[in-house]
């Protein structure tokens, strides 16, 4: 790191601006969450986070997060392998579609699933006959969560795989290794840390998704309420201690994610030399 020797005053003015900006916009909200969560003492905090509905909401959130991580990991591995190791027509279109879900408003993400599986869809009678309810039920929540976190893992893997190139895989293929062996022994060690970071990021976003899930949830307490929706419910009922206590759980996860990010990035850099 090269540091500037000149402009000492400018340096400290800019640093001060940054620190004030970050303190007000990023750190103050975190302090506020904790102080409100604990304002009625530790026992009411514990009561709020172990409330029956809070636990059920947390379990549903974990379930949706689990599915999002599994599906997006499978997708991310295949998609990034496909995009980085082969040349084919339509590759650019493919990557545009993969990145699309992050630019779409979460409300619109919810809307498209309602249009696909809702009452006016031709799929509805078929699914209804089979007794499957997707929108305003748990499957809808899971689908919405997968959608909003869709490119998170492939986006972490693609730059690493592109930088690594295809020479090693080609050599292994010429020596007769099959696809799985090549992936396991050659590609995987390169992308290990990026994959782990992608999973962490995907899990964090999946846990916190609000807009899309809010459209597709039936808002049934204990059944289709995820943790962020449960927080909204408490907040609108003026139970601020409860809302911020539940928020603090998600906040702790967010901080763990940030710490993991720094660790994983360092690991990745070190191994790449």
């Amino acid at each position: 790191m090269k540091t500037q020797k000149k402009g000492g005053a400018v340096k400290w003015i800019l640093i001060t601006i940054c620190v004030i900006f970050l303190a007000v916009f990023l750190i103050l909200p975190l302090i506020y969450i904790l102080s409100t969560a604990f304002r009625d003492g530790i026992s009411s905090y514990i009561k709020a986070v172990t409330d029956e509905y809070a636990v059920k909401a947390a379990l549903l959130t974990l379930k949706a997060t689990f599915f999002a991580v599994v599906i997006n990991t499978i997708f991310g591995l295949f998609a990034s392998w496909c995009i980085c190791k082969f040349t084919f027509r339509g590759k650019k279109v493919l990557s545009t579609f993969i990145d699309l879900p992050v630019t779409v408003s979460p409300i619109i993400a919810g809307l498209i699933y309602i249009l696909t599986f809702g009452r006016q869809s031709f799929l509805y009678p078929i699914l209804d006959d089979m007794g499957i309810q997707i929108i305003f039920a748990v499957p809808g929540i899971i689908l919405a969560t997968i959608f909003v976190t869709f490119p998170f893992i492939s986006r972490e893997l693609i730059p690493v795989l592109t930088a690594q190139g295809t020479d090693e895989e080609e050599a292994a293929a010429l020596m007769g290794a099959n696809a799985f062996t090549i992936f396991k022994n050659i590609t995987f060690p390169h992308i290990k840390w990026a994959l782990l970071y992608g999973i962490v990021l995907c899990a964090a976003r999946a846990m916190g998704e609000f807009g899309a899930v809010s459209v597709l949830s039936g808002h049934l307490r204990g059944k289709t309420n995820t943790l962020p929706l449960y927080i909204e419910l408490l907040y609108q009922g003026y139970d601020f201690t409860g809302a911020f206590a539940s928020s603090s759980i998600l906040m702790i996860f967010a901080i763990i994610v940030l710490i993991l990010r720094v660790i994983l990035e360092q690991r990745g850099k070190k191994e790449r030399g």
Partner: protein
């Protein structure tokens, strides 16, 4: 045939493309198609009525104006943050670098309720602004803008930071030796190089901010014609099961997002041409 097309000795093209396309279709393409199919069924007059209602028009205005102001603030602050992180060493730098991505990791609803409580007229920050300047933040457009600044800041920093790291020190030193002061060096040498990254970060933050819902809906107060955002209008129509109006408003928003991203793509290709033309 597969081999011929991929022209690669690496096996596994067929299966990886197959799995990729299957999951992509199920999660993204088919639902998006149903949006297209459903909007084809809308009558033109209904569409116009749904998207030009006075309340809907003012919600577009609120969404676009607050997103624009917030993204401009983020472009400037993002540049300063990236500059400080790349060029200076100071205690706590690692912490600053790590916390920049908090808005990606913190659930939007959690950010929304805490920013709202901080900025009401008796909140920690809000009372300060209200008592000294008489400015209300929560439940006004200023509040919406503040929430969008929170959401958008990592986009600009993460776009500018890697480019700034690669800026050649030699050009800068040459400019200095030729007698340019630090301000001129920045304007003439460094700024043109990082401008494309800054624009890209700005447009990403802008596109994201227009569609943002979770963090804004609490702080906005949602007063009709004043602080209702466009995603909230879609939500309101959905709650009345008026899917036609919801889809119409959504289509307009998708077109706006698409335009923003296209302008960015165009500017990026111009910038790329300019750089390669010089070199």
């Amino acid at each position: 045939m597969r081999r011929k097309k991929s022209r690669s000795v690496i096996p596994g093209f067929g299966i990886s493309l197959g799995v990729t396309l299957t999951i992509l279709s199920l999660i993204v393409l088919i639902p998006l198609c149903s949006l297209v199919v459903f909007s084809a069924k809308l009558s033109f007059s209904d569409f116009i009525r749904a998207v030009t209602g006075a309340r809907v028009l003012s919600s577009y205005y609120v969404s676009i104006s607050t997103a624009l102001i917030a993204s401009l603030i983020n472009a400037v602050m993002g540049l300063i943050l990236a500059w400080v992180l790349v060029r200076y060493d100071f205690p706590g730098k690692r912490l600053v670098d790590g916390i920049i991505e908090l808005p990606f990791a913190l659930p939007t609803a959690v950010a929304g309720i805490s920013l709202t409580h901080l900025t009401t007229t008796n909140g920690w920050v809000g009372s300060f602004f209200y008592n000294i300047f008489g400015i209300k933040i929560a439940y006004t457009r200023i509040g919406i803008t503040a929430a969008l600044v929170f959401i958008g800041i990592p986009f600009v920093v993460r776009a500018v930071q890697p480019v700034l790291e690669k800026v050649d020190h030699e050009c800068e030193e040459a400019a200095m030796l030729l007698g340019a002061d630090p301000g001129t060096t920045f304007r003439k040498v460094i700024f043109p190089e990082i401008l494309p990254a800054m624009i890209s970060g700005f447009t990403l933050a802008f596109a994201r901010s227009i569609g943002e819902y979770g963090s804004v809906v609490f702080i906005a107060g949602n007063t009709p014609y004043k602080t209702e955002i466009a995603p909230l209008m879609i939500m309101a129509q959905l709650q009345e099961y008026d899917y036609a109006s919801a889809t119409s408003i959504a289509l307009v928003m998708l077109v706006i997002a698409f335009l923003i991203l296209s302008v960015n793509a165009f500017l990026q290709s111009m910038a790329a041409r300019r750089v390669s033309g010089l070199a």
